[in-house]
Amino acid sequence: MSGFQTNSRVIKWIEHRMPVFSFLDHSIGSGYPAPKNLSYMWNFGSLAGISLVIMIVTGILLAMQYTAHVDMAFDSVERIMRDVNSGWMLRYIHMNGASFFFIVVYIHIFRGLYYGSYKAPRELLWMIGVVILLLMMATAFMGYVLPWGQMSFWGAKVITNLFSAVPVFGESIVTWLWGGFTVDNPTLNRFFALHYLLPFVIVAVVVLHIWALHTFGSNNPLGIDPKGPQDKIPFHPYYTAKDAFGMGVFLILFTAVVFYIPNYMGHPDNYIPADPLATPAHIVPEWYFLPFYAILRSIPDKLLGVVAMFGSIAVLFILPWLDTSPVKSGRFRPIFRLFFVLFMVDAVLLGVVGAKPAEGIWLTIGRIATAWYFLHFLVILPLLGVFERPRPLPTSISKPVLKGGGASFAGATAKPMEKA
C-alpha cells in the first residue's frame, strides 16, 4: 500500500518504528490522490486550517498577557495594545482573525452546499463539519466576552439569558452558566478557561473531519466520482502548490485589514469598559452571528426563537437526507441553482436584518427571510429532488476536460481551471 520512498537513513529509521512519514504522505502528500478538477473554491478548507493555527498561536501569546478578572480584563487588553511589544499586532490579528476564520468557513460551507458535498458517502464528513461550526461559534462568542467591554458584557448577558427560555429548568441553567446571579467574575473566568480549551477540541474534531474526508477523498465541481487514475492527481505537489498560492492571497487580504482597518469589523462600544448599570442602545453581536440573531428575534416567542436559532444549525445536520436529488453538483441542477442563489441572498439579508433594530419593516423582512431559510431546507430541497430534471452528467472527470469545447458542460468545467 505504501508508495512512500526515501533515501534518508534517519527517516527510514523512524519510519520503520513509527510510520509517521508514510502517514503524512497519505494525508497531505504525494500518496493522497485528489480529483484533478478541483477549483479555487476547494482552497477554503486549507484556509480554515491556516486560520485555526493563526488563532491558536496568537491566542496563546495573548493569554500570557491577559488577566481574566472583571476589574483587570479591560486594562490588561489595553496594556497589550500599548505596552506589550507588538501586542497591538497580536491582538488585531486575533480579533480580525476570528472574522476571517468565519468568512473562510462560511465560503467553505456554501461551496459544500452548492456542489452537494454533503451527499453520500460524505454525510459524516459534513456532520463533523457542522460540529466544528458549532464549536467555532461557542469559542468566538466566549472570546468576544474576554475584553470585558460593553458589548462583551451585554452580549454575554443576552446570549446566556437565552437559556432561561428552557421550560422549568431555564433559570437554574442560566444561574449555573453564570456561576452566580448575573454575568460576573465567575462567568468571565469560566469563559476564559473554555475559550482556551475549545480551540484544541476543534483541532481534534478537524482531525476527524480530515479522516472522514480521506476515506472517499474530496468531492469536485462535477460532483461525479473519479473513474480511475486518469481523473486524479497527487495532492502533493499539485494541491499543496495551489493551496499555498491561495494562502498568499488570503494573507494579503487579512493583513490589509489587520494593519489598515483593524477596527472596521468591531463595535466602538467594546472600547467602553463593561458597565452592568448602563445598557447600550443597541446590543448587536459580532457580524458572523447576525443571521442567527435575526432568526432568534424574528420569532415572537422566546423559547421558539431559541429553538429556531439552534434549529437553523441543526437543520444542517440532517441536510444529507433532506436533499433527495442524486445529483451532487449544482452545475447540473438548473432549478436548484436558482434556489441556491436565492438562499445566499436570504442568508445575507438575515445578516442585514440582524444588525437593525427589531422593529417596523425590518421585523417583517426578518420573518419572511427566516421562513425562507427553513423553507429552503425543509420543503424546497426535498421537492427539488423529485421534480427537477437534472442535466446529463459527464461520464468522467477527464472526458469533458480532454474533449475541449465540444460538450456543453466542458466550458463550465474549464473555467475555474483557466486560472490554474
Binding site: 486594562d75 502548490a241 498568499g248
Partner: protein
C-alpha cells in the same frame, strides 16, 4: 404591472419613512458630522506632531479638569516629539499618590515619566457626585469608542448652540418636527381604534372610559421646543441632543505656546488629533509594519503563483 409598481413604491416609501418613526431612530438621529480631513487618515497617514502638542495643551488646561486619561503614561509623550527632560518636567507638574511606604502610609510625590496621567477624581462615584450625577468618561479610548471617532469628538465640541450654524439647527428642528408628527399620526391611528372599541363597549357598559385624543404637536422652531432636561446642554451631535457637559471651549480658552490663534475650531481639531493618538498610539507603527508585510506578501504570493503554474503545467485541463 402598474399595480405592482404602485405597491413597490408604497413599500419603498414605507421603508424610507419608518426609520424616522422608530423610537430608536428618534433618540439617536443627529445631523451628519462636519466632514474632517485628518493627517492620520489613509494608508500612509501619520500624526501631526504640532497638532498633538497643541491638543495635549488643550487636554491639560481644559479637559483634564473633569476627564481622566488613565491609559496614557507621561513616557508615551515621547511620541509627540518631547525629549526626556521635557517629559520629566511635564510629569513633575502632577502630584501622584504612591505607597504604602515603610510606615504603611500612602504619600504624595511629584509625577515621574513612568506614571500615567492621574485622573481628576478618585473613582466614578466621586466623579458623578461632583458633576451632577453624570461621571465624565475617561478620554483614553474616546476616539475609538464612538462612531466617527475623532470626527465625532470634533463635531461634539463644535455642536453647542452658539457654535453650530443655523442650517444644522434647522436640520434638527425639521427632523424633530417630523418625528413628532409621525408619533402623533401613529397615536391617532391607535386613538381611533380605541374610540371604535369604546363606542361598542359603552352600549353595554356605561362606565367605560373614553380614550383621550392625542394633541397635535406644534412644529419645533427653537432649541427650547426640544424640551431638554434642565441639567443638560444642547448639543447637535450628542444622541438625544442633551449633554451634561457644558460648552468646554471658548475663543482663547488656552494660549498656544506656538502662537497659533486659539479658535474653538482650532482647539477642537487639535484635541481630537491628540485623543486619536491617545486611543491608538501605535497607529504609525501599524501602518509602517503593514506596508512591509504587504510588500513581502505580494512578492511571496507572486512566487507561489509562479510555482503553482509550473507544477500544474503538465496537467491537461
Amino acid at each position: 404591472m402598474r399595480k405592482g409598481l404602485v405597491f413597490g413604491f408604497a413599500a419603498l416609501a414605507a421603508v424610507a419613512s419608518l426609520p424616522a418613526a422608530g423610537p430608536a431612530a428618534a433618540a439617536g438621529a443627529n445631523p451628519p458630522l462636519p466632514a474632517m480631513e485628518w493627517s492620520f487618515d489613509g494608508p500612509f497617514g501619520t500624526y501631526d506632531r504640532q497638532a498633538l502638542q497643541r491638543g495635549l495643551q488643550v487636554y491639560r488646561e481644559v479637559c483634564s479638569v473633569c476627564h481622566g486619561l488613565k491609559y496614557v503614561a507621561f513616557r508615551d509623550l515621547a511620541d509627540l516629539g518631547y525629549n526626556e527632560d521635557e517629559i520629566k518636567a511635564i510629569a513633575a507638574e502632577y502630584t501622584v499618590t504612591d505607597g504604602p511606604n515603610d510606615e504603611g502610609e500612602m504619600f504624595e510625590r511629584a509625577g515621574a515619566p513612568s506614571d500615567r496621567f492621574p485622573s481628576p477624581f478618585p473613582n466614578a462615584k466621586a466623579a458623578a457626585a461632583a458633576n451632577g450625577g453624570a461621571a465624565p468618561p475617561d478620554l483614553s479610548l474616546m476616539a475609538k469608542a464612538r462612531v466617527g471617532g475623532p470626527t465625532y469628538i470634533h463635531g461634539l465640541l463644535n455642536g453647542y448652540q452658539d457654535l453650530v450654524p443655523e442650517s444644522v439647527l434647522q436640520w434638527i428642528f425639521d427632523h424633530e418636527t417630523e418625528t413628532r408628527n409621525h408619533r402623533y399620526e401613529a397615536a391617532l391611528v391607535e386613538y381611533e381604534a380605541a374610540l371604535d372599541a369604546y363606542e361598542d363597549k359603552v352600549k353595554t357598559d356605561p362606565a367605560a372610559r373614553k380614550p383621550i385624543a392625542p394633541t397635535e404637536p406644534d412644529p419645533v422652531t427653537s432649541v427650547e421646543d426640544l424640551g431638554l432636561a434642565s441639567t443638560s446642554n444642547f448639543n447637535a451631535y450628542f444622541p438625544g441632543y442633551g449633554i451634561a457637559m457644558a460648552q468646554p471651549l471658548y475663543e482663547d480658552s488656552v494660549t498656544y505656546a506656538d502662537g497659533t490663534p486659539a479658535t474653538v475650531e482650532q482647539m477642537s481639531t487639535d484635541v481630537s488629533n491628540f485623543l486619536m493618538w491617545a486611543a491608538e498610539p501605535k497607529l504609525e507603527d501599524r501602518k509602517e509594519t503593514g506596508l512591509k508585510v504587504l510588500i513581502f506578501l505580494v512578492v511571496f504570493t507572486g512566487v507561489l503563483y509562479a510555482a503553482k503554474r509550473k507544477v500544474w503545467k503538465d496537467v491537461p485541463h
